[in-house]
Symmetry: C2
Subunit: 469 residues, 2 copies
C-alpha cells in the first residue's frame, strides 16, 4: 500500500532502514554528531521495552538505583583492560561552572567503575550479598560511524550490576539474566529468535572474564548483538576493593556481574520485522495494538467506534481511536502501516449498517469483514496468532540462512548472505583474525546441546560467524 514511500529492501537495505526511521517518525539525527532525537512514535516503543524488561529485572530480585553521569577520570584507570577498551570513545568535560576543572570528568560510557566504588562502601558482610542493582540511564560512547539506534554517541539503556559471594553464584546470576530477562523478553515480546552463546576473548567486554550474548539475524542476513551479560570475575572487586566478611569470619573478595541492553533493540526490531511497507510491530510490544479507524462520518459511527475501543480495552488490548476524518483515509492507513500497528479496525456508515467492521492485519497481511460484536474477541486471537507468525518467520530465516561449514573459506562465502557455523577447533583465534580481514566476526560460541560453552577452548564448541551491525 505504501509502495512509493520507502526504498524497497531488496534494492538498498540501509537506505530502506533510513527511510523507515524517518517516515515512521521514529527518530532523527541530533545536532551534535552521532546523537539522536527519539520522536514520540519511537519513544513509545522504548517505554514498552522498558516496562517489559523492568518487570523481568525486578522479578529477578534486582532493585533500581541511579549513579552519576560524571565519573572522575581516575576511576576508569583502576581496571586496566576496561580503560583500554573505553578510552577511545570517551567524552571529557574540562570546564564547568565557568572554570577549568582541576580533574577532568568523564561522561559515563558504562558504570562498572562508579558502581564498584559504592558497592565497596555498602558491602561489609556476607549478609549484604548478593547486592543486585540496575539503572536506566543514558551513556556516551563517541561514534565515528554513527547510525540511528544502532550506533549513536549517546544512547539509552539499562545496566545491571551485581555482587556475589562466589564465582558459581555470579556465573549463575549472569546466566539467569541472560535467559530469564533477555532471552525471554526478546523471544516472547519482541518475537525475535536469538542465538544464546559466549563471546570469544577477542569480542569480550573490556574487563570481563566471560561475556554471554544474544545474537539475532536481520532481514539482510547480518547479525545484531541484542544484549550481553558479563561475569566480571574479581577484576572490579579487586580494583575497587569490594570485600566482605564471610560466614567463616574471613575477608573475601566479591564476584561481580554486569549486563545491559539498549535502544539498539529498536534498530533490531525494525530490521528483523520491517517490510517494504514499513514497520511491523510485534503484538506484545506494540504501544497501540489495535487502531480503530473511522473511515468516514455517519450516524452512530462515532458512538460505535468508541464502544469498540472500550470493548477492545476490556479484552486487554491497547486500543486507540483514529477519528481524524478531515485527513484522507488512504493517508491515515499508509501512516498506520508505516508505523506497524498490528491491527486496524475500519468502521464507517456502510460497515455499521451491516453490523460489521473491517479487520486489517499488518503482520501477515489480509483483511476480513467481521461482525462488530465479534471484533474484540477476534482481535485478541489475531494478536496471539500474529506474534507466533512473526517469530516463526524470523526463525525460518535464521535457520535457512545459517550454514554449517567446515572451512574458513566456506565460512567467508556463507557470511555474504547470512551466518556460518564452523567447529571452533577448526577456526580458533588464528582463524578469527583471518575473518576480521573480511569484516566477519565471531558472533558467539555455541554448543549442539544448546548449553553455553563454559570455556574459551571447549572442544565441542561451534563458532557462529557473520557480518554484524
Amino acid at each position: 500500500m505504501a509502495g512509493q514511500v520507502l526504498t524497497p529492501q531488496g534494492e538498498d537495505f540501509p537506505r530502506w532502514y533510513q527511510d523507515v526511521v524517518a517516515r515512521a517518525e521514529l527518530a532523527e539525527n541530533g545536532p551534535v554528531r552521532g546523537t539522536m532525537v527519539i520522536r514520540p512514535t519511537g519513544y513509545a516503543i522504548w517505554e514498552r521495552i522498558q516496562a517489559e524488561l523492568d518487570a523481568r529485572i525486578k522479578a529477578a530480585g534486582v532493585e533500581n538505583a541511579y549513579f552519576p553521569l560524571f565519573l572522575p577520570q581516575s576511576y576508569l584507570a583502576k581496571e586496566a583492560e576496561h580503560v583500554e577498551g573505553f578510552s577511545p570513545e570517551l567524552a571529557v568535560v574540562t570546564h564547568a561552572g565557568g572554570k577549568e576543572l582541576e580533574e577532568p570528568v568523564v561522561v559515563r560510557p558504562t558504570s562498572e567503575t562508579i558502581i564498584g566504588e559504592y558497592m565497596a562502601k555498602w558491602v561489609n558482610s556476607y549478609r549484604d550479598l548478593p547486592l543486585l542493582l540496575n539503572q536506566w540511564s543514558n551513556v556516551v560512547r563517541w561514534e565515528m560511524r554513527p547510525r540511528v539506534f544502532l550506533r549513536t554517541s549517546e544512547f539509552l539503556w539499562q545496566e545491571g550490576h551485581t555482587a556475589h559471594r562466589t564465582q558459581q553464584e555470579a556465573a549463575a546470576f549472569a546466566e539467569r539474566i541472560h535467559r530469564e530477562v533477555y532471552e525471554d523478553f526478546m523471544t516472547q515480546v519482541l518475537a525475535i529468535p536469538v542465538i544464546r552463546g559466549r563471546k570469544t576473548a577477542a569480542e569480550r567486554f573490556a574487563g570481563a572474564v566471560n561475556t554471554l550474548t544474544l545474537e539475532a539475524m536481520m532481514r539482510d542476513g547480518k547479525a545484531l548483538q541484542m544484549g550481553t551479560s558479563h561475569e566480571l570475575g574479581q577484576n572490579f572487586a579487586r580494583a575497587f576493593n569490594i570485600v566482605y566478611l564471610s560466614d567463616q569470619g574471613k575477608q573475601e573478595l566479591a564476584w561481580t556481574t554486569s549486563w545491559g541492553s539498549s535502544t539498539r533493540m529498536i534498530g533490531a526490531l525494525i530490521m528483523s520485522h520491517g517490510d517494504d511497507n514499513g514497520l511491523r510491530l510485534p503484538p506484545r510490544l506494540a504501544p497501540v495494538q489495535a487502531l480503530v479507524m473511522i473511515v468516514k462520518d455517519g450516524e452512530g459511527v462515532h458512538e460505535a467506534a468508541h464502544r469498540l475501543v472500550d470493548e477492545l480495552r476490556h479484552t486487554g488490548i491497547r486500543a486507540k481511536l483514529d477519528d481524524r476524518v478531515d485527513v484522507a483515509f488512504g493517508r491515515r492507513a499508509v501512516d498506520a502501516e508505516l508505523k506497524g500497528v498490528p491491527l486496524r479496525l475500519e468502521i464507517g456508515p456502510r460497515e455499521l449498517a451491516d453490523g460489521k467492521v473491517t479487520l486489517v492485519r499488518r503482520i501477515m497481511g489480509g483483511k476480513d469483514v467481521v461482525a462488530l460484536d465479534q471484533a474484540a474477541a477476534l482481535s485478541a486471537e489475531a494478536l496471539l496468532v500474529d506474534h507466533q507468525a512473526l517469530f516463526d518467520e524470523a526463525e525460518v530465516r535464521l535457520d535457512l540462512r545459517t550454514e554449517d561449514v567446515e572451512s574458513i573459506d566456506d565460512a567467508i562465502a556463507a557470511a555474504q548472505k547470512g551466518l556460518a557455523r564452523i567447529p571452533w577447533a577448526k577456526l580458533g583465534v588464528e582463524g578469527e583474525r583471518h575473518l576480521a580481514a573480511s569484516s566477519i566476526t565471531v558472533r558467539c560460541l555455541v554448543r549442539d546441546d544448546e548449553t553455553i560453552p563454559v570455556s574459551d577452548d571447549d572442544p565441542e564448541a561451534y563458532a557462529v560467524v557473520g557480518r554484524a551491525y
Copy 2:
C-alpha cells in the same frame, strides 16, 4: 523509637536532613562534586513520582520523546536571556573520541533550545499545533553549594515543551499543567499543600515571559519551589524560527511553554513530612504502603503472614513481607520507621493464637491490635485517613507560619520563622531588592481570590516572601 539514630529537628534541622538521607539509605554524595547517588530506597520513591506524574502528563495529551544530552554551544546563544541565565552553570565537553572538538559541546542544563530547533522542523501548518512533548532525563547545572536532592550538579527531572497557535492557548496550557499535573500531584499524592502563584520578573525562568510556580513550606518554615510552568511567549519561537501556516494562509510565529519538576521533590517530601524518627511517606506515594512483619517464627506464622500480604494486595495495597527473623525485630522496626513505611502489620505466634495482628501507624503514631480478618480493610481505611492527616498537618503549619504584614521590616521579621504576605504595591521591585540583602526572596505573587495575577503589576497582588531552599 529511633531516638538516638537522628539528630532531632529542633536541634539542627539541616543536620537532621542529612541524617535522614543517610540513615534511610536514600542517597549519597557522588565522587564528582555536587553529584548524587540515588540508592534503591530513594529511587523507588522517584519511580512512584514518575509514574504518578507521567500518567497526569499523558492525560493532558502530551507525548514523551527524548532529545540529546549534548547541545552545540551556539544553540544557547540564540536566546539572549536564556544564555545569560545558564552560562555560569554549564558543563562543557571539549574533548571526545580522543580528539579536541571543533565546537565545544554543552551538557544540557534544560532543553528549550534543542527542542525549539526540532519543533521548527516539525511544525509547518496550524494542523501540526498544538505540539505537546515531554521528556524524562538528567540535566546538569554546576552547583557551588550542593545539597543532596535540593541542589545537585546533576539531577533527574521531566521537562515539558509545547507549541501553540496563540498566546491565549499557550497561557491556558501552562496553567493547565500547573494545576492538573503539578498541583494535583503535590496535594493528592505527596500530601503537600502548595501556594500557586506567579514569579516576579526577578525570579522568572531565563527566557520566559511568565513563570507559574508552586511553593511549599518545609518544617523549618523555609519555602521550597516544587515545580514551575513557563509561558515563553514567542522568544524561543523567534530564536528557532518555529513558524506555521495559519488557517488564513499566513505565516505566524508559534507560542511556546515549558515546565519541569525534579528529584528536588524528594527533598521536599523529606522536609515537609519527616519527623525525629525519620521519613513519613504519604500513603499514595509510598512504594511499600504496608509492611507485614513476622515478629518471630512459630507454627502457621509464615502462612498467615503470606495470606495477609495477599489480602492486602487484593485490597489494592502495595504490601511487602519482612520475614527476616534472623535480624532483631527492634532493628527492623526502626528501619521501617526511618524509611517511613505508612503501616506495619506485626504478626507472631502470640498474635496468631488470638487471631490478631498489631497494626502500627507511622504517620500519626499509635498501634492497635486488630482481628486478622479485618486487617486488610482497616489498613485501606488507615491509608485514606492518614493521607488526609498528613496533608492537614502540613496545611495547618503553612497557615500558622504565614503572616500578613504591611511593611518590609515586618516581612523580614516574619520570614525568620516562616512566610510573610505583603501587598505587592507596598513591596515592589525596590522592596524585593531590599529583601535580597536579608536572603529573603519573593516566592510568588498571589491574589486573595486564589486566581493568579495576570501581570507583574497587578494592584491586588500580594507577595509571598520568605527564605527558601
